[in-house]
Structure formats: C-alpha cells, structure tokens
Symmetry: C2
Subunit: 481 residues, 2 copies
C-alpha cells in the first residue's frame, strides 16, 4: 500500500481506514507508543503497537532514529494533543538505529554539538522547524517578485571582476601550488589558469543585475555570495545567500518602499504557512530566555515580534538625524559606547545601530543619506549638500536583535560623476567597461538593495547564531560535510 | 505622474486616459514613431511624437537604446498588430545613446558578437525572451516542489568533500601563490588556509541533500554547480545551475515518475505563461533553420516540440534493451557510429543517445539499470544479476537535440554494500563519515536526480548553444563581466 505523509494523516478526519506511514521513530514509550515523524510536519503521529502480538526482536529494534513502515487503522486518538493515531497491524523496520551509538538522543543537545553533527541535527524538532521556515521564506521571496513582474537573474558566482569592494574575496583557480605557471617576470601566469585570468567568488551580483535591470526593468537575484573575512561571529558566514532586487526608474524612496513591502510580505507569508513550526520556535526561545537575567529577556515573544514588524511602519531616519540622536544619547554622554559619536561623518557601529533600533525607536529603522566617503562608489551623490558633507542616496534597514538586514541605494546614473568617483578610488575603468556601458547608453535612475537571507531567517526563527539557520555553515576553519 | 509598465498599457482597454511610460527606444521611424520597450514584455508600445511641436534637438536624441519618459494620451491604434498607442504630449530624454557608438544596432547581430556583449544582449528581443522564459521556468521549479511539500535546501557551494566524483573541481583558497605556507615536508599547508583544509567548488549537492531527505522526507536543491573541465562545447558550462530533488522512500520507478511529471509541469507552466516570448523564439528558430539543408531541419516547430513532450509518455528502456537496439541499428552495422556498439557494458556516447531519441524512439527516453561499473558509487546495486553483468538502479533522461537532461538513481541504502563499493573505488571512508551515518542510523530506500537547468532552458527556448541561455556564461578562457 502506498504510504501517506504524516501531515496528511494528521489532517485526515476519515478514520477507520487502513493506512500505511513511513518515517523515523522519535520516541518509543511503554513498549507500545511510537512517536513517528517523516519531516512533513513538526508533529509526530502516534502509532500504537500491539506489543503482545509483535515479536520481541522487532520491538527491540524500535529505537530512536530507526526508519520504520507501519500499517494499520487510522483511529480517533484518546491521547491529548492529537486528533488521530494509527493502531498498528504490521510494522517493518526499514533501517535500524543503534540506541547506544545514535548521536541524536531524545534529550536536549547543545547547539554546538548539533553544529558538529549538521547532517543529523535536521532530525531534531528545532532544526526541522528552522529549515521548513527557511524553505517557506525562500519561496515567498520568489513569489513576491514573480507576482510583481520581476525576473529572476542568475548572476555569475565565479567573477573576473573585483571592483564591488564589498569584502575580501576567495580565489577560484585550477592552477597548482606546486609548479605554478609563471610569467617571465616571475609573476603567477593567470593566462594559463582555467579562465585565462584571475577569478574570485562573487561578493554581490549587483553590478551584473544592474545591466539586466536596464533592459528587463525589474529583476532580482537570489543566490550564494561569499566573504573571505576572518569574522568568527554569530552574525557572519563565509558563504551565505543574498537577495538583490534592482529596478529601473526607482529612486531611493521607491527603493525603501519596495524593501519594506517585500520584508513584510515574506514574513506574513511565512507566519501564515508555518504556524506550527513558529509556535514551536517561540516556545523554544521562551525556554532559552529563561536562562537569562530578566533585563536581557525580550519584551515580546517571537510571534509578537513578527506581528509587530507587520503592523508598524519602519521608521525612516536620515543619517544626519541619527547622528544627532546618538550624540545626545545617554550612552554617548556617559561614555558607554565603545566608539563615541563626536561628529558628523562617523561610521556607525553595531552598538549605535542597536541603540537606535532597540532603545530609541523600538522598531525597524531605515537609515538613509549616508556620508559619501563611507559608502560604495556606485551610490548616487546627492545634490546641494554642503562641501565636506556630501551624502549619497544609500539606505540600510536595521532590525532589532539582528542589526543590518538590508543595504541598498539609488545608483549613480550619471556617467561623468561615476567615472570621477572611480578615478578617486582607483577603480580601473578598463575593467569596468561593461558596467559603464549602462551609463553610456540609455542610462536612467535606478535603485536596488541586498538582503542577507540568513539574517532574515534568524529574525523569523528567533535563533541567535547564524550557523543555525543554514544547513551546512561555512566559517573560518570550518568546511565540514 | 507614476509611469505604467508597458505590458499593463498594452493590456489596457481604457483608452483616452493620460499615461506616462518609461523605457528604451528600440526604433524611431519617420521622425514620428517610437517603438518603446521596458522589458516587461517582448512587445513595444508605439509612441507617436508630434514632431512639428517637438524641438529638433530632442528629436535628434531619440535614438536606438536611449532611455526616455513619454507622457500623453492612450489611444486606440490605427497600426497593425497593436491595440493601443500613446499620442505623446511630452517626451523627456532620460539617458542618451550615441547611435554611432551603441553596439546593439536595430539589425541582426551574430550570437558570438552578442556573447561578447553579454551586458547589452539582454536588450535584444531574443535575449529578453530567453531570460524571461528562464525566469519563468525557475519559478515553475520552485512552485512544483513547494506545492507538493518538498523543502528547498541550500547545500554548500564550497565543499571540503570531493568524493562525489562527478567531475574535475575548482580549488577555492585564500592562500597566496607566492610564499604559500608549507608543512615541514614541503607540502602546501592547508591548515593555514581559510577553512583549515583543502576546499573546492561543489559539483553536486546530492550527498548533502540525502542527509536532509532522511529527515525532512522530500527535499530539493536549486543552485550553482561547477566543473573545471576543458569542454569547449555548445552543451557545457564551467558554472551552471542544477536542480536536485531527493526523496525518502522513493524507489527508481517513483523517481522516474517524479522526473517525468516534474519536467512536464515546468514546461506546461512556461508554455502557459510565456506564449508571446515562445512565439517569438519559435519564429526565430524557423528563420535560423531556413539556413540549413532540408534534411537537417526539425520536423516540428518549437511549440509543437514542447507540446509533443507534454502529450506523450517518456519511453522507458533498460540499458540492456538499448544495447540490443543499438547493436542491431543501421548506423552500427554500417559502421557510421564513431564508437561501435559491440557488447554489453559499453558506455553510451552522445551519438548513441541521439540515435535512440531522435531516430529510433522519436520521443524523450528514460534509460535505466546501467552497468554498475560505469556509474557512481552511491547507486543501488540490483539483486539477482548475472556475475559480470551487475547493474545499478540508475536512470538518465535523454531529450531530442539536447541529450542527457537528467541523471538520477535509487541510492544504495545498505551500509555494508556501500562501504564495500567505496573500498573498491578507494573513496576514503573517514572523509565520508557523515554520509555513511545516514545508512548507519535509520537508513531507508531513497532516490533522486539532477537536472541541468540550462539544458532545460535550451530545450524550451529552442536555442542551440548553452552560452545563450545563462546571463554571463563561464567557459574555458572566459570569465568576463
């Protein structure tokens, strides 16, 4: 008999029918009650084994982690918290799981232990929930953009261009370290490398996406990006997924509107679809916070926090206003910040961003119009600024507990201004000929942003370490699996 | 006034309203008729300029490729093939395009020239259509799996594991070629590299996806994969996107059913959504085929070919049957094959695959149960085969004009058989500890396949070179942009 997924069995009100289910044993109580899970939902189905008529040998093999196939009658359940259960008539052990050796015991494991067993942690309730939420968020991303006529663009992962300057890059090569081909001057001869030039892993698909936006109008990327930075923090990965929409004819205001609407849509979609998983994660967070001193606990539960984002406008604040707020803030006056804010032009640190979002505004904040010299070359220079106080049409979205979740800008559409900026920053024009072509031929106002997908998953799941929201995290000294 | 997308203007029957449109000039005829495109559709909207009341200087700047903003009245069109047009009251040049210098002239360019201008080729009708179709196919992939309860898994791009053996790998490193850290024995000291070990770009996410399937049940990947192979053909890329579903409890038959259903769904979805783009590409292919001798032309048009796939079952043929057919085929007897088929066990070349698909069966073909020694280590060994004729539960789907589009298998779920196979092939067990854990703990029958996304896009668009269906192709000696 074809097996039925557990999510469908649990939603089935037609009891007394014969059914087959396959899955993995989560627990086996009293030699009688199997909690069976197949990943289709966080909920297990209870399978009641007729232990008197089941061989002892089979009963012994019903252990945590074992794969089994059960057939029997779907019955209304007497137990609490479940509508139906299976009265088992036949059970087959598909794959054993030696209880002595199986690393995932039915108890609480540390997150660090689970990271070392990333191939098995997905068998826990928490990681099942996290990864189902991640998958749903991914789909929401595509659906949002596709419904609105955006085209998905796969920008290159291996790139010969390193001008974006978003961070340190990994080298991609087919050249050997021993007997590396050399030029007459003794330099590495990249002409003999696979691509005939030096290549790296992309840090952003933005520049390529811009060329597509200037033809298709509205595009987005959603793919892996990389940073070879030795940041061993709970917010950084060497390999992470990024979403980068780019829209022709959008100015910075339209860009902010898009980002806010987009974030709300994908959160709403996920709250609607993943209620059970989010309820579990909310409970998990609550338990975790009980370990903390009262003052450090969240004021809101996970779902309250998500609904708060959905129900409130993001606060839009210019960099200049933000500096005023920070300069006059208590932690600045009491010298509690590690980096005191003294004057306009200071780069904001995460302590400042957190103050603004978590203490001052207590809601997501969009900071915009940053000083030109702390932002990237391609951002649109504002007109009519004071000399020495030039700003660009940049925006960052800051989230409570997460910090920067989005970085975006209106792009500099004026060829002469862009070229001048590149010269000042020693960005070689000849390597960027194709990017400059978008300004040479049919240039127009356009804007876009990048959203670090894992930071969004962190926010929605209430997890606190970014290594726990991507299946196999890549961090300094760690590329296992 | 907020501009309206051209696709919405063309679908608008409410004429006589004042509208604004933004886009790029495709052509400007008789100093009067602008064909304006904004990428939202392959169709242009005609904008009729009142040339007598427009400054000469502005008229001169309405050139192919220029970005413009037009405002005026939406009118029923007198022209053929268009329902509405804009009677322009105001036109603003947003970005000039010097007609002398703009590479994309309103004429036919060679595909090779367009590849060298991959940042601008998207401004042509053909590439606009191809990339809209690609985007739609991508979304269909996600929708198919998500509707059926599959979870999207992002398997790692940078991998420390190179056992999959699907092909040559690119090295990923942060070590320098000059002054490379060395061990005492003079070997490269990868402990000092970013990840503390040798790392490469993934060739497949399958092994990691299997670990997820053994917990979530049904999963799929859709991400970039890499081959450092010097294949300068029209079917190979160094960087391409692959879709890899993996399903617990599926045997090979269920795997074939899934693959066939999946392919039909995404093609149907795209035929339904991208009618105008596909009609254009069909016409394009027809024109191209006119250059060919009659005998080499397709018997079917593009849409006929797509509908043929939708309407017919894929022919399922065992490797053994296929060898019989090939051995007795005319090209084999007349020694027309470059590789003659003499006996069971021969690896099939693309000439054989093409014969089976294009000449013998004339429909998509699923070959299954291949000789064990020409397939990967993780494939399920068939029971009860003759000694020396061991086969594995592998399947390849072959498409007319494309060749192999899917490769998949039921996976070897038996720990002892798998370990023995790995030993025979010198695959180090200790590096694959995590993969073997899936067989140690709760193992079960499971299956999956990989579909090369660009080959699917080739088939659906009727293009013949894989470099023309990905925005910025990566091939030997080419990583521009």
């Amino acid at each position: 008999m074809k097996h039925i997924k557990i999510i469908d069995l649990l939603n089935n009100t037609k009891t007394l029918q014969e059914v087959t289910a396959k899955g993995w044993v989560r627990t086996f109580r009293n030699n009688q009650f199997i909690a069976l899970n197949d990943g289709s939902t966080i909920h297990n189905i209870q399978c009641v084994v007729d232990f008197e008529n089941t061989p002892e040998d089979t009963l012994k093999r019903i252990t945590t982690g074992a794969a089994v196939c059960v057939s029997g009658t779907l019955m209304e359940s007497q137990g609490k918290g479940q509508s139906v259960e299976i009265q088992v008539k036949k059970i087959e052990i598909l794959g054993d799981s030696d209880a002595e050796k199986y690393p995932i015991q039915p108890k609480k494991h540390s997150l660090e232990f689970l990271r070392e067993n990333a191939h098995l942690r997905i068998r826990t309730n928490a990681f099942g929930a996290i990864m189902r939420v991640r998958s749903t968020l991914s789909f929401a991303v595509h659906q949002y953009f596709q419904e609105r006529g955006f085209y998905y663009v796969n920008t290159p992962i291996i790139t010969g261009s390193d001008a974006e300057g978003a961070g340190e890059m990994f080298k991609v090569t087919a050249l050997p370290f021993d007997g590396t081909p050399r030029t007459e001057e003794g330099k590495v001869n990249y002409k003999e490398d696979f691509f005939g030039k030096e290549t790296n892993l992309t840090v952003s698909g933005q520049l390529e996406a811009e060329t597509y936006a200037m033809a298709l109008g509205q595009v987005y990327t959603f793919g892996p990006t990389f940073r070879a930075e030795n940041s061993n923090t709970s917010r950084h990965l060497a390999e992470f997924w990024m979403i980068e929409p780019e829209v022709a004819f959008n100015d910075l205001d339209a860009n902010m509107d898009l980002a806010e609407d987009f974030i709300k849509y994908v959160i709403k979609y996920t709250v609607d679809k993943c209620g059970d998983d989010l309820k579990f994660l909310e409970q998990r967070l609550l338990e975790e916070e009980k370990q903390k001193p009262q003052a450090e606990r969240s004021e809101m539960s996970l779902l309250e926090k998500l609904n708060f984002v959905l129900d409130n406008n993001f606060k839009r604040v210019s960099y200049t206003e933000a500096i005023d707020i920070l300069r006059n803030s208590t932690p600045n006056k009491k010298k509690k910040f590690n980096y005191l804010i003294e004057e306009w032009g200071a780069d904001l640190q995460s302590e400042h961003e957190r103050f603004l979002v978590e203490k001052h505004f207590k809601c997501p904040v969009i900071l915009f119009d940053y000083p030109a010299n702390i932002k990237a070359f391609y951002m649109r220079l504002n007109e009519n600024t004071e000399p020495g106080k030039e700003t660009v049409r940049a925006m960052d979205i800051l989230f409570p507990g997460i910090g920067e979740i989005v970085g975006g800008s209106q792009r500099e559409e004026r060829l002469d201004v862009l070229v001048e900026k590149m010269k000042a920053l020693n960005i070689p024009e000849e390597e960027m000929w194709w990017y400059l072509d978008t300004r040479r031929f049919g240039s127009a106002v356009h804007s876009g942003f990048g959203l670090g997908f894992e930071r969004l998953v962190l926010f929605v799941t209430g997890m606190t370490n970014i290594r726990d929201v991507i299946p196999f995290p890549r961090t300094p000294q760690n590329a296992e699996f």
